[in-house]
């Protein structure tokens, strides 16, 4: 039988993969994919709890998270385009103007 625990563990694994992706990869597009993975892992957790607690609040919150994710990706991709146009290079490690 599938219990909520299974879904939670799956969510945790997906979240971890997303986190590591953000930390390890240098390409901002891949990092955004990792962020999306994290957000959707959280969505999965919300839906699972909603189903097993018979409470609609979880699924309503998923709507909000989806909306935020979409907006954030739009802004983020705009930033990436701007950075690429400025320096022809989107390697995250090279953006260290705040150093010092």
């Amino acid at each position: 039988m599938l219990t909520v625990t299974h879904y939670t563990i799956l969510s945790a694994i997906l979240f971890s993969i997303g986190a590591v992706t953000v930390l390890v990869r240098r390409n901002p597009l891949i990092m955004f994919m990792g962020i999306e993975l994290m957000l959707n892992a959280v969505n999965l957790a919300f839906v699972a709890f909603s189903r097993y607690l018979n409470n609609m609040d979880g699924q309503v919150f998923v709507f909000i998270v989806l909306t935020v994710a979409a907006a954030e990706v739009a802004v983020g991709l705009a930033l990436v385009v701007a950075i690429f146009r400025a320096r022809d290079n989107v390697d995250v490690d090279e953006i260290d103007l705040l150093k010092g």
């Binding site: 260290d96 103007l97 010092g100």
Partner: protein, 660 residues
């Protein structure tokens, strides 16, 4: 005329400010006569105040004006207020009167000096401070004046700060004016330390510093001989030893002769050095509660008088003789105060102001005539060239020696009689000896300077030791001449005062002592019970001492006798002791000045330089190190920030989870 006592110190202060700000741009005549005018105005107001005071009945002769409340902190309050009673009235008349004469003289004396504005600024400032000192109605204001005269003394002694050696025509080594000024100030500071502690103790025990309250409360708060009042009076006396050049703090006065002669006359003969005497007389209520201190004062007074007189016997510089004479006469005043004859002490203060200022100003006239050379071994025969100076100096010498009919006789005799009558026979004997020595050394000075044949040549060039003979000052040869009227008129006036000034204080067997009666409401009645025969005997003894001194001086120095030189050869150790001034200066240097400087250097280099700078720098460096290490956190490396955020989130969630 009420509420106008403040004018008395205000005029000189105004003069000082004007000379300070614009003096250099004023013509010499205006700058100098302005200074004279302010002191004259002050004298005028003082005289008016004196007459107002005498119009009051004898028991109520106090005029007390308060200007404003100067300090009011918690329970402590001190005003700027002025207290005129017979004692301070006499003081202001002496200060402004003699000061006026000296200022007039100084206009002539300083006429070739380029720094006339600075000179008269400091002179006026001094008169201001001295008047504040004697008119103050509380110890704090008096202390302001006390410090003020010390500062002006420093400024005026070191007036010729650019000169290294002031001795002309002699190979004697004197301290430079700048060092002399510093020495005077530092030595006075030691005394002021005692004075300050005394004032603090006074406030601590009595809660007030105003004269009227202190003297009223002291008699109920302290028993006679209580340790508190003894310590307090001793501390105040320490201040007096500094200001009035008593043992052990007299060493600054002889070196103060590096200043211009009017300065020596005003500050170091007539006024500033009398501040200690005035202070003790003013505080007589406290001193009468401390018999031990009175004994100390009397003994130190006589000791100082003796030591200074012995040193004066062998000095070759005319001003040094007068300087040590001043120290010695101040010792007499302290002796009078110590035996309870406060009125006699102040009386001698007044007569001494007259004749000592006279002697100094005459010496200045001699300096002017002899291109600043004052080594008496090279003078002589001036009485025909400078008759006015000679006669006035002679009158001063007679007054100083205590020859009858001159003012010094009356005041000195009163002191000696008081000393004997109060049972201080030993001190009295020394006092008579000192009188003998006083007559001797001052007539030695008269004879060597004015008498005999000249030991100098007309046209001779005298120089400061070490300078070339053709510098601007020494290029002129000696052409001695009498002083200008602006200089000899004050001399004559002072000579007249030196003669008639004593008649207001006649000994009991001769007549009324108007001076003592005048100050009695302030200083108390100290009628001494002496049989008339005894008093005549004492008078005869002191007169005899004076004449013996004069005769010995005549015997030694009239005609080219070898007696002094032979004495110096037979008793070389004695001569060396006196000529080296008991080696007081080297002793103080090794015992106090050098350890003091070593201590100061230790504090400066080691403690201040190493320890405190080390702490300050170390603290600074420590912060800089921490900062530079913290700076590595700001790498600009975005992934590092992300990792840090993740770790933080994990930690927080772990903590939350573990608490539930």
């Amino acid at each position: 005329m009420s509420q106008s006592l403040w004018l008395i110190p205000a005029f000189p202060l105004l003069g000082a400010i004007i000379n300070l700000v614009v003096g250099r741009r004023l013509p010499r005549a205006i700058s100098s006569w302005l200074a004279v005018l302010t002191v004259a105005a002050s004298f005028g107001v003082s005289a008016l105040a004196f007459f107002n005071l005498t119009a009051l009945p004898a028991e109520e002769r106090v005029i007390h004006e308060t200007l404003y409340n100067w300090i009011g902190v918690g329970s402590f309050s001190a005003n700027v207020g002025f207290w005129l009673d017979p004692l301070s009235a006499i003081m202001i008349l002496v200060v402004t009167g003699v000061g006026l004469l000296i200022h007039i003289y100084a206009v002539g004396y300083m006429e070739h000096d380029p720094d006339y504005a600075r000179f008269f600024m400091a002179m006026n400032l001094f008169v201001f401070a001295m008047l504040m000192l004697v008119l103050a109605d509380n110890y704090l204001l008096m202390f302001l004046g006390w410090e003020g005269v010390g500062v002006c003394s420093y400024l005026l002694i070191g007036f010729w700060y650019y000169r290294d050696n002031i001795a002309v025509g002699t190979d004697e080594k004197f301290l430079s004016p700048r060092s002399s000024g510093t020495k005077a100030f530092v030595v006075n500071r030691v005394g002021d330390f005692g004075f300050t502690l005394g004032i603090i103790l006074m406030f601590w025990t009595l809660g007030t510093l105003s004269f009227d309250k202190v003297f009223a409360q002291a008699q109920t708060a302290f028993t006679v001989g209580a340790p508190v009042v003894t310590i307090m009076t001793l501390l105040l006396f320490l201040g007096a030893t500094g200001k009035s050049a008593q043992v052990p703090l007299f060493i600054w006065l002889p070196d103060a002769m590096a200043g211009p002669t009017p300065v020596s006359a005003l500050i170091h003969a007539a006024t500033m050095v009398t501040a200690g005497v005035y202070m003790i007389a003013r505080s007589h209520v406290l001193y009468e509660l401390a018999p031990f201190t009175m004994e100390v004062v009397a003994v130190i007074g006589v000791l100082t008088a003796f030591i200074a007189a012995t040193i004066a016997l062998v000095q070759n510089d005319l001003k040094r003789v007068l300087a040590y004479s001043t120290v010695s006469q101040l010792g007499y005043m302290m002796f009078a105060l110590g035996v309870g004859a406060f009125g006699a002490g102040i009386f001698h203060l007044m007569t001494h102001a007259f004749f000592k200022a006279l002697l100094f100003l005459s010496a200045g006239a001699v300096m002017h005539a002899m291109n600043d050379m004052l080594d008496m071994r090279r003078l002589g025969g001036l009485r025909h060239i400078m008759p006015i100076t000679f006669w006035t100096f002679l009158i001063g010498a007679l007054a100083l020696s205590g020859v009858p009919l001159f003012s010094g006789f009356f005041s000195k005799d009163e002191i000696l009689t008081a000393g004997f009558a109060t049972g201080h026979i030993g001190l009295w004997i020394v006092g008579v000896l000192v009188a003998m020595m006083t007559a001797f050394y001052v007539f030695r000075a008269v004879i060597l300077t004015f008498g005999g044949a000249p030991r100098w040549k007309e046209g001779e060039v005298v120089t400061v030791a070490g300078e070339h003979a053709d510098d601007a000052h020494g290029a002129k040869g000696l052409h001695p001449h009498e002083a200008k009227p602006v200089m000899w008129i004050p001399l004559v006036i002072l000579a007249v005062l030196s003669v008639i000034g004593g008649y207001i204080g006649l000994p009991a067997v001769i007549g009324p002592n108007q001076f003592a009666d005048f100050v009695a409401p302030v200083l108390g009645e100290h009628a001494m019970e002496i049989a008339p025969e005894l008093e005549w005997t004492l008078i005869a003894i002191s007169v005899a001492a004076a004449f013996i001194g004069i005769l010995v001086a005549l015997w030694f120095y009239v005609g080219n006798r070898e007696i002094p030189a032979r004495l110096a050869r037979y008793y070389p150790w004695l001569y060396a002791l006196l000529a080296n001034k008991y080696w007081v200066d080297p002793i103080y240097d090794y015992l106090i000045a050098r350890p003091g400087r070593w201590l100061a250097n230790a504090f400066w280099i080691d403690i201040d330089g190493r320890v405190i700078n080390g702490i300050a720098d170390g603290l600074g460096n420590g912060f800089r190190g921490v900062g530079s290490r913290l700076r590595t956190l700001q790498s600009g490396y975005a992934r590092g920030y992300a990792l840090a955020m993740l770790i933080g989130i994990v930690v927080v969630i772990a903590l939350v989870v573990m608490r539930t």
